[in-house]
Amino acid sequence: MSETKVAEIKNLVKDYGTRGFQTRVLKGIDLKINRNDFTAIMGPSGSGKTTLLNILSSIDKPTQGSVILDGKDITRISNRELSNLRRDKIGFIFQDYNLLDTMTLQDNIALPLSLNGVSSKICLEKTLELAETFGLTQHLKKYPYQLSGGQKQRGATCRALITDPEIIFADEPTGALDSKSSRDLLECLRLVNDQQKATILMVTHDAFCASYAKDVYILSDGKIQCRLSRGLTRKEFYDRIIDMQSSMGGDFS
């Protein structure tokens, strides 16, 4: 079962700039993500991580190549279908949380379901269930400005999970968090990956963060340079990632 394909990227190329002055940011990337994967894409600044994630999450369009999500090539479908795809199949976790400060945490988490027209009873149940998992039950009535960064990011993760998406895209989810909050969040992500069989694709520059994943792809100069898979312990995996980073050089911060 775990071999079911969720997303596949074939020969992805992305150029920026006007004709004649183009910079090739992604130089032919192939990547396959299966159900229940927990993949991290690492790379130094300017390696094309964010561009890749933007294309995968259908916010940006590639110059060449195809991205198949949920059996559809997202480079060829209409904007309307794209919106629906983003809404139903993808969950997003952003570096800066992007919770709506007009509403309470509970409403923020329930937002995707309530906007999708799911009955309010189910909205409530799922919200409470997720909040329980992420240790947010006490904070549900609070507004984002009353929450810490870690709480906000866990809330944002709940929001991403509530629709049971095919895949979750996380863009530097720990980028704005302290180490304790980072650990808490990553543990949570691992938990949903293990127990709820969620598929997660995470972009990060941080080796510690990447070491929570099952597979790590290292992106450099627009190409995937290598793939590392988790061994026995996270610690050992972390060491291997660090070794690889130092052997490749470049600015990973």
Partner: protein, 637 residues
Amino acid sequence: MSMGKLALQNFKSSFKNYLALILSLGFTVLIFLNFQYLVYSDALTILGQQNAEYSEILVQVVSVVLVCFIFFFLWYSTNVFLTKRKKEIGIYIFMGLTNQKIGRLYMMESMMTGGTALALGIGAGILTTRLFQMILMALSGIAADIQFHFVLQPILITAAVYLAIYFLFVLKGYVSIVRSSVLDMVSANRKNEYVQQKNWILMGKAIAGTGILASGYYMATKDGGQEVMGNVMIAVILVIIGIYLLFDGLLPVLFQKLAKNKRFLYQKERTLWINNVIFRMKKNYRTYAMVCILMLCSVTALATGFAMNERYENIQHFRNTYTYQLLGSQPDLDRQITPLIEKENPIEYSTRAEILMLDSGQDASESYQKIYGLLSYSQIRELAGLANLKCDIEEPADDEVISVSHLYLLSLMTNRNHVNVTLDGKEYHQTAEINEPYLGYLQEDMEYYLVNDRVFQMLLPKGQVLYTYNYRITDPLNYKASLDELDALTNGNPDVYTGRIAIDPENKGDEWIKVAYSVCVFMFLVFVMASGSILFMKLYNDAFEEKERYGVLQKLGYQRNKLRKAISRELAFAYVLPFAIMTLSSYFSIHALEKMMNTSLLILNMVSVAIILLFFLLCYLLSVSMYQKNAGLKKSS
């Protein structure tokens, strides 16, 4: 970079954001200037000395109302401006600027905004004065050739009034910035305005508001005599306080309750817009209350203008019932008068009435003796038949009288029945008051009472009898033709004839009322536009704050359609709520006016509400489109 330069740069870069503010401030300046121009230019002098004086008083009263309006409008708009600026210029605190310096920066920027608005308003005002005066005169039905004159005084007054008020609020903003903490300033926009009051306090406010509003309605429509004026004043204050409290209490309690009821909230797009309303609760309820009151003023102003104009026309009609009225002491003078008139003009109809002049007699309750004119029932019936006047009254009983009164331009008493009248020492019960012009212009000068024929005969020996001979000619404009001969007749027999009245149908005596009427129409338009633009401006600013949030929602995959729907709902609510409460309140205020003016204004009420509805619909559609653009839901190209 110097502070001045920095302020100028900020002003330039955010100019587009404050365009709505600048335009609406400029608009208020324009209106005020136009009214001031009316006083200081010679536009009103063509109405004649008396009318010009009345009209000037009227314009000054309107100016006072406008100053109040400008005061509240500036208060509101500078507040909105302040919150927005606080966050943006709060960043400078990290660059080592003190609160005082940031405050100064704010003041400079605000003065630039205010100055631009003033310059625009005065510029546009000078250009439009002639147009304004032409429209005003045309609306008043007064033919006038209006020239443009440049007069400095109204410009100076307008600038002084505006700058004084504006500076006051800018100073208030300065103090607020100097006193606020860094955190306050930086997070001024992010914090929501959830009203943290106990539910029972909010409920109490809402109930008190409803109660006060209801008692305001009651006071406004309560019958009364001389105290009606006071009642109306109390009603105005009660309604304003009531509306404010109602919004202050009901809106938070209702919405916060709704937001807590997740089963309700998580349906359709409610979670988005209901939370948005709560997010800006304080700003919302203040705006709604203000808009509601403004609209109520506008509808009432329009109705007053209409009622006064209608009354004026009725009075004209009343006076023109007869062209000539002669008073004499003998019952058969028509044999002398009729041929004289017929020589020049054919007579349309003529009547004769016997008036019994009677004093109130020995009555301790009256400080002085009043003289009344008594009329007998049967002769009034006959007279009404001849002059085509309505006469559907029943004959009064022996102890009853009916007051035969005239139309007042603005009468405040709403209860004229069940008053006792003393005639020749005996009390009579007044059962009704009628305003049919049986005696035409004569009826305006004295108090007349209708009694039954028996009482009339009984009282006949107690007073003095006077006969009035009334004529209406087919061409009242030609009334001057018989004047000389009639005067010769009356002057030649001073012991028989006691008076002569001739009515000029083109009498310009009360022309100022027409001006008053068009000023009222104008005030209606100004207030309606102001309330529409206040709502528009508020939503315009809100939309900028929403940009980020709608961006997030789009990233999450929500189709613009859905988000637009949430916006439409939120905006519809912003327009519908104040409109609904205004519509309800206007029914009562117009009803109060109806009672005072003794006329039906229901259709006018409906028409004015419909005009506001149309205008609001337009504003709403514009707001939705603008909101979507500002919130980034529409390609701006």
